[in-house]
Amino acid sequence: MSKLHVSTKVNGDAVEFLCDPRETLLDCLRDKLNLTGAKEGCGTGDCGACSVTVDGRLVCSCLMLGVEAEGKEIATVEGMAEGEELHPLQKKFIEYAALQCGICTPGVLVAAKALLEKNPNPTEEETRYWLAGNLCRCTGYDKIIRAVMDTAADMREAS
């Protein structure tokens, strides 16, 4: 069948694309909009490397069709920094060496940002469970969890 036309907003910008109804939002972000920050680690919603928010809700972009993005507002890792100013989580991840290979990092950052927006003062357990859908094979999560919790503390202090 012919392709479907989709109008949506990504990181605040109005965008349009044509997609096959079988293509996922992740396929559309990466292949049609050249936003390759979200990664496909599994294609089954088990690894979280493709995490984005849709209308503020954290989702796996591999578990949503491109056509379902019609009229929505999508946010990806590419939209996390404001101009040249990195998000506090981005800064802390670099400072704490909370990434090794970096493939899971975009998804972890998007998910962690969603956590702190919902819960500015998460416990270690809450942080670990919130991020349970973001697989990291390199770090053992230790430095990731510390980076998220310490960023939360910094942000609480700053606000």
Binding site: M1, G43, R57, L58, L63, Y129
Partner: protein
């Protein structure tokens, strides 16, 4: 694959009834997209029901129960304080499914219609006595949750039928529910065994109970012997042992990559005891 997003359930039902190939309804999509991506099921027709008015609403009924739209996500259920105070077991069962990300999309009806005997929300719904409104070519009918799954991946829904609402009964006084599952990790797994319990007390005595087991048979089971083992008791040690024995006896599981027959049979009893204790404490108004 054709994609449609009808504006009403009647239209959705008509589309499905007229389709000649494989039809799937798309709510949260957390199962449909996985099957699509792995070439397991590529529907000829995909009907997205999320543009139908009211599908994302959680509404208190006049009788004190709840009506949930079929696109209400797990995250929306968890964030709804009052629903969770009435039916913590259902909300927790839904919340156990997948990650935070999956919670942003997954729905009760999707979990049910996927037809997995290991679906977490299903034992909790069955224990709670949840019913569904089904819209078909001949209009609406109301069906109990336990009557929907007929086997792994199969449901009793006829061609052209689509679930249009989830009806949760009024909780009433001195009652509580709970759901527990066993998984090898702390998150992200499919239940190896699941158990939902809902019960009502008079004083310390259980006067009503429904116990449901998941992942121990081709479909989720409503186990009357389990209920019988605890009704009329104060959930003392003997009642708990009888409950565990009834739960294990009801199991008809398989050996598979997620667990063995012996393991599932044993752990069904363990979880039944643990879930019953939580439901009992909740019915007494204790924190659990």
């Amino acid at each position: 694959m054709n994609y449609h997003s009808p504006a009403s359930f009647a239209e959705a039902s008509a589309l499905a009834a007229a389709s000649t190939g494989v039809t799937r309804f798309l709510a949260g999509g957390t199962d449909v997209l996985v099957q699509l991506r792995s070439d397991l099921v590529t529907p000829d027709l995909l009907i997205d029901i999320k543009k139908i008015d009211g599908v994302s609403k959680i509404t208190r009924t006049d009788e004190g129960g709840w009506t949930l739209g079929v696109a209400v996500t797990g995250a929306e259920m968890s964030e709804h304080g009052e629903l969770g105070r009435d039916w913590p077991g259902i909300v927790e069962a839904m919340d156990l499914i997948g990650s935070t990300q999956v919670q942003g999309r997954a729905t009760l009806t999707g979990n049910l219609c996927n037809g997995s005997p290991a679906a977490d929300s299903v034992p909790a719904m069955i224990a709670a006595g949840v019913t569904l409104t089904v819209t078909g070519p001949d209009g609406d009918r109301v069906v109990a949750v336990e009557d929907i799954p007929t086997g792994p991946g199969r449901t009793s829904l006829a061609k052209g039928e689509v679930i249009s609402a989830v009806n949760i009964p009024p909780r009433g006084d001195n009652a509580g529910d709970a759901y527990l599952r066993f998984i090898p990790r702390t998150e992200m797994d499919i239940a190896v065994v699941g158990c939902g319990v809902s019960l009502r007390l008079e004083g310390d005595k259980i006067i009503e109970a429904r116990v449901s087991l998941g992942a121990v048979a081709p479909t989720v089971l409503l186990v009357e012997d389990c209920a019988a083992a605890i009704v009329g008791t104060t959930l003392d040690e003997a009642a708990l042992e009888a409950l565990a024995a009834a739960a294990s006896a009801a199991c008809n599981p398989i050996d598979d990559k997620r667990g063995t027959i012996a393991f599932r049979t044993d752990v069904a009893g363990v979880l039944a005891k643990r879930a019953a204790k939580i439901a009992y404490a909740r019915a007494k108004g204790e924190n659990a």
